[in-house]
């Protein structure tokens, strides 16, 4: 399916066209969930748990119900025992019987306006019996620890989970034999690392609007990364057939994993069902912080053994994750972290194993990088420590040990497109590494590299020709701002050889869109792009069949021509899409609808190569690669590190829209920079201490350097659309390690705990002064 043309010759692919939705956004006219209204609409609000772990004894809703304007109050008593969850079905729409984290929704109210709903929710009186809380994975796994989910054994799980008491999931992958391999090593380095919770901080808080039609069908709009996951979660949580819920999405004010699984949608639907009126719920920023989800805190042990010449021999990685109160994507994050923990390197002996535990924190879940930023921080920092001990240049050490052509990923999956070497070489050149590293003065310069997955699960596309020969492209993929509507339109336009303006991208709608698992796992360009190419090819086959009638020539002799024409190869004779559409709509054959669906099917684990236990997924995706160099400055008085520049080289297979690739690099860098240097959710005995933008800080213009350099590397993925693969996550994955390595280069301080705060740097500086 890859094009026979090179990038330069392609018609729509490889061009940095403006995003198809940019105009409505700059005019202030794009509609997000909070901007939608329905006639006779109510507003929903929730009451949150004041305890991290407690039994719910009783509810008194009378005071709330008496407030003028209040229409309905729901508590856990009004909900059945239905459970949702992508890996382990352990989560209801609302707390029932007990609360498992501070801030968990325990009751909700629908009222005529938002202020009334919010005030009334606070009048609901809930009686609790406090239980001991487990606030770290270590505490959770202690014998005799208070158990969060007494019925864990009975919960439905989508994989063979190794789970018991507060152990949510255990995963192990191994190749070779690490235990005996240590003897072959000249140098063994072992360290522990720790990472913090990061908030996604999508600028748009989560929200939903639900409306029940007279026949009982439910229309649901929400901020999401997958209308299909919303539909599934709502129906699982409320015990509804999926055919009864129509899930849609307006514009989405970013999602970095936080809007993939459910947030407020099940509660919003429950209130709409109870009141039989449209209900809108928009979370406040505080509620969004406290109840949605966040990046997992990790505790990590890395042990790496090498030869004196730098050859990697063995690596063992042990992980311990705080999973929070509900499983959500945690088992997947653990599995992916284990899978990514060898980095893009060849280790003949490798073992990764780890646990994720239930704790009385809010759920930790998917967040750009999906466990990879944590292990890459540790693994790439340790490679620099090894390089330093061996006196080898850090880039040289990586080049020496990187996965070469034809080498397989940890676990045994083949790697078809591998631009890692070129990434390392390009970034060495673009950053002027050899010179900059030697002559950076007080500043420090650090490198890191990584691989990440792109793919996963099922997707479909429908390419529908309209009566005038223009098209509607319908994929069900939610554009969360990254630009997938534009990219998929370009792929479709290239496949059909028509102008961008002749394609309309349909908004995701479970009633009309083909299934799309979601905008996550760096998958839309690669996976949905494949479906679009397939659907367009299906349409083209039909177009040629009907053109053959009009041109009185066999379909095999026909070719697409730019602008929506079909011509006879080697002849001028041609017919337009307009004429073909007219014929199929009004005369012969019927309107043209091209479609294609697929499920990603390359196995992650090859049992001939690796042994795996507790793997939460079977076919995770193809591989993307990146290398980056960071430069930092350190204030010697305060210890504050600041970013001075970044150079990236990213293997995207084929850039469908280079400008949007740069956007993913810039944005992934900024988000990774905050994660590396200062972003941290802080708990004070179960209470999130900084659930506001006053106290939780994202990088602003002052923190993000203007100098972010992107080199796009293109090693086509054989089955990717025009060779493309994803780029959404890898750009964040490499950031903390490159900055930590740059700090060490500047100061000699090696930090193994994120964030790399002024306090930690200064403590290191003082320690170095004293030794």
């Amino acid at each position: 399916m890859a094009s026979e043309k090179t990038t330069n010759e392609m018609y729509q692919v490889g061009k940095s066209i403006p995003k198809v939705d940019a105009r409505e956004k700059v005019l202030g006219r794009a509609q997000y969930i909070a901007d939608l209204t329905r006639p006779n609409m109510l507003f929903g609000a929730m009451l949150q748990s004041p305890y991290a772990h407690a039994k719910i004894i009783s509810y008194d809703t009378a005071a709330a119900e008496e407030v003028p304007g209040v229409k309905f109050v729901l508590t856990g008593d009004d909900f059945g025992d239905h459970k949702m969850g992508p890996f382990i079905k352990d989560e209801g729409a609302i707390a029932k019987g007990k609360v498992r984290y501070m801030g968990e929704p325990v009751a909700c109210v629908a009222a005529e306006d938002e202020a009334t709903a919010r005030a009334a929710a606070l009048l609901i009186d809930v009686e609790y019996e406090e239980l001991p809380a487990v606030l770290s994975p270590e505490a959770a796994l202690e014998p005799g620890a208070a158990v969060l989910h007494e019925d864990l054994a009975d919960y439905f799980k989508v994989f063979e989970a190794i789970a018991e008491d507060n152990l949510m999931s255990y995963t192990e992958i191994s190749e070779g034999d690490v235990d005996t391999a240590w003897d072959e090593c000249d140098l063994i380095v072992e360290n522990t690392y720790e990472t913090q919770a990061q908030n996604h901080l999508s600028l748009e808080p989560c929200g939903a609007l639900a409306e029940v039609e007279p026949d009982g069908l439910i229309n649901l709009w929400s901020a999401n990364q997958s209308v299909f996951r919303v539909q599934a979660n709502v129906c699982e949580a409320l015990g509804l057939p999926m055919s009864r819920v129509r899930s849609m999405t307006p514009k989405v004010g970013a999602g970095f994993g936080n809007k993939m699984e459910a947030h407020i949608q099940p509660l919003c639907v429950a209130l709409a069902l109870a009141t039989k009126r449209p209900v809108k719920m928009i979370l406040s920023r505080e509620e969004d912080f406290e109840t949605v989800r966040a990046r997992h805190p990790f505790k990590i042990r890395y042990k790496t053994g090498v030869k004196n010449d730098g050859t990697f021999v063995a690596r063992e990685v042990e992980l311990l994750l705080d999973g929070g109160a509900f499983a959500d994507d945690s088992p997947g994050v653990l599995g992916n972290a284990a899978l990514m923990s060898m980095g893009p390197y060849h280790f003949p002996n490798a073992k990764a194993f780890g646990k994720v535990a239930y704790t009385n924190h809010l759920r930790f879940a998917a967040f750009r990088g999906f466990g990879n930023p944590q292990v890459t921080f540790a693994g790439e920092a340790q490679i620099d420590e090894i390089a330093d001990k061996l006196g080898i240049d850090p880039i040289d050490l990586r080049l020496k040990n990187m996965l070469g052509k034809g080498e397989k990923w940890f676990g045994g999956q083949k790697v078809d497109s591998n631009g890692l070497q070129e990434c390392l070489e390009k970034v060495r050149a673009s950053s002027d590494w050899d010179n900059r590293r030697k002559n950076s003065g007080e500043n420090g310069v650090g490198v890191s590299a990584a691989g990440h997955i792109s793919g996963l699960l099922a997707t479909g596309a429908i390419v529908r020709m309209l009566e005038d020969g223009t098209f509607v492209l319908n994929t069900g993929a939610t554009d969360i701002g990254q630009g997938s509507d534009t990219v998929l339109t370009q792929i479709c336009a290239e496949s059909l050889q028509i102008p961008i303006e002749n394609i309309r991208t349909a908004a995701p709608d479970t009633d009309g869109s083909p299934y799309n698992w979601g905008t996550t796992a760096s998958r839309v360009t690669y996976t949905t792009g494949r479906a679009v190419v397939g659907a367009a090819e299906d349409a083209v086959r039909q177009i040629k069949d009907y053109a053959a009638i009009l041109l009185e020539s066999p379909a095999d002799d026909l070719e697409l021509r730019e602008g929506g024409m079909v011509g006879i190869k080697g002849a001028n004779k041609e017919v337009s899409f307009f004429e073909i559409a007219a014929m199929t709509h009004w005369g012969v054959g019927g309107p043209i609808v091209g479609s294609h669906t697929l499920v990603f099917d390359q196995p992650t684990i090859d049992p001939k190569i690796a042994v795996a236990k507790g793997m939460p997924f079977t076919n995770i995706g193809v591989f993307t690669f990146a290398a980056m160099v960071s430069e930092v400055a350190i204030d010697k008085v305060t210890g504050k590190a600041s970013a001075e520049g970044a150079w990236y080289a990213v293997d995207v297979g084929q850039a469908i829209n280079p400008g949007l690739v740069e956007g993913q690099v810039d944005g992934g860098y900024a988000q990774g920079l905050g994660y590396a240097l200062f972003e941290e959710m802080v708990w004070d005995d179960g209470r999130l201490a900084n659930p506001t933008l006053m106290d939780y800080k994202a990088p602003g213009t002052a923190e993000v350097p203007y100098e972010i350099d992107t080199t796009i590397v293109e090693h086509p993925e054989p089955d990717g659309p025009f060779g493309a693969k994803g780029v959404g996550e890898i750009t964040l994955v490499t950031v903390p390690a490159s900055i930590a390595n740059a700090i060490t280069h500047a100061s000699g301080v090696r930090l193994r705990k994120l964030p790399l705060s002024p306090e930690r740097v200064l403590n290191g500086l003082i320690e170095n002064e004293n030794t």
């Binding site: 999508s202 701002g481 956007g663 944005g667």
Partner: protein, 155 residues
Amino acid sequence: MSSSETIALKLNGEVREAAAGPTTTLLEVIRDQLGLTGAKKGCNQGVCGACTVLIDDKLARACLSLAVNSVGQDITTIEGLTENGEPSPLQQSFVDNGAVQCGFCTSGMIVSSHALLQANPQPSIDDVRDGLSGNVCRCSGYRKIIDAVRGVAGD
């Protein structure tokens, strides 16, 4: 006055009536009552900048401005910066420079950029960084936004 009463606001050059209590914010009035949803509620504490508007030609957070306290002042929102509903050169520059991702910060960014360019028509990179330091974008890393602001200045 107490509870809700009718106030008249000068909004994008038109007098618009709305019901507001003493604690009703300008953001609530313009979004919920007057249907101008370009200004966004991202934090409701004045930090994120998504609700930035102009009040008497000075930048202000609509979420921190009381509606009753804004009576008699000239209020301009993103909708008021368009040219007959078409993108202004600044808005078009955001499109052309790829400065828009999710778009949730975009209205506030453009209003802030507009004020910045009024005061300093030829800003340096650092001028733009200073001027936009009160607007958070979680998608872009700011580089293309800075280019968009400087791009229009060059024309």
